[in-house]
């Protein structure tokens, strides 16, 4: 993956597949590290599966024998001296869902840029219009925020993935980014 925003897209899709209706995607620029947290309220995972996720030759799928999503994300973090933590509570227990928290060190030569986070969000909204994504990107130069619960209240019964709505949401995010000075991104 050439951009962390692609890893974020990939990992977040797992939450969608786990039946989550709310997914928090949070990126924090906390010099000298970037923290990425993806928290879903899906069905969660049994304890033994959590460790298996880190193994590229583990997958729940039957069409192929590899599952590269989590190992790739963990590799991006570990290459910078950081790490990926996975916690999960299996349904039907209260607070069920899975949380991925990656820590990546910006000054490492292996630090991968975040890339096009706006496209990642629009792709998620296009594919999963009924999931409430709450995206927050905190930087020293301001915060970019999108809460689909608020958007949905405004939209009523108009689907999120109507092209005109997606286009508006894209420009809404782009405008917020243009008003933010991404100190972290320049490093």
């Amino acid at each position: 993956m050439q951009e962390l925003s692609l890893n974020i897209l990939d990992i977040t899709m797992n939450g969608v597949a786990a039946g989550a209706d709310t997914i928090f995607i949070t990126v924090k620029e906390e010099f000298p590290a970037r923290r990425i947290i993806i928290k879903d309220n899906g069905c969660g995972l049994p304890e033994e599966t959590i460790e298996q996720l880190r193994d590229p030759f583990f997958t729940t799928r039957t069409t192929r024998k590899v599952g590269m999503g989590v190992p790739l994300f963990e590799m991006q973090a570990e290459m910078t001296g950081g790490n990926l933590q996975i916690t999960s509570v299996e349904a039907p227990a209260e607070g069920h869902g899975t949380t991925f928290e990656a820590l990546l060190y910006m000054q490492s030569i292996n630090f991968v840029p975040l890339g096009d986070m706006v496209s990642t969000m629009i792709t998620l909204l296009q594919g999963s219009p009924n999931v409430d994504f709450i995206f927050t990107h905190k930087t020293q130069g301001g915060t970019v925020h999108l809460d689909m619960r608020e958007v949905r209240e405004t939209l009523g019964d108009v689907p999120v993935n109507e092209p005109d709505i997606l286009m508006w949401l894209r420009s809404y995010l782009e405008e917020q980014y243009s008003e933010t000075t991404l100190e972290g991104e320049r490093l």
Partner: protein
């Protein structure tokens, strides 16, 4: 500065468009968005399909959807187009190829044979 009030106006325009739309079977464009697809560049391919379908005014006949891994990861980004009984599998797609598929296949009905799986070497 964009606000949710502005979105409320867009909502009304969109509602009007949805009401005018005729519901028919239509063509489905399925873009593979599993890890293999994403790593190979499926995100800009999906964006290109969504934008070009809308810009070409065929949004009422063509839907763009996301799907998982269909097991031919070496050919990603893979896009399947379903027209009724017919299925066309486009492989090693890019945003530029997507534009051509919209213009030639989805608008005019001519399959872009050179991008299909039968015409492509890994």
């Amino acid at each position: 500065m964009k606000s949710l009030e502005e979105l409320a106006r867009i909502r009304e325009q969109t509602k009007a468009k949805i009401a005018l739309r005729e519901q028919e079977g239509g063509t489905r464009v399925m873009v593979g968005m599993a890890t293999c697809g994403i790593a190979a560049g499926a995100r800009p391919v999906l964006s290109a399909f969504v934008e070009e379908v809308n810009d070409s005014g065929i949004g009422d006949k063509v839907s763009v959807e996301q799907t998982g891994c269909i097991g031919i990861c070496q050919y990603e980004p893979v896009v399947e187009v379903f027209d009724g009984e017919e299925k066309t599998t486009y492989v090693k797609m890019t945003a530029d190829k997507a534009k051509r598929v919209v213009a030639e296949h989805l608008v005019k009905g001519n399959v872009v044979t050179e991008y299909t799986i039968g015409a492509t070497k890994v």
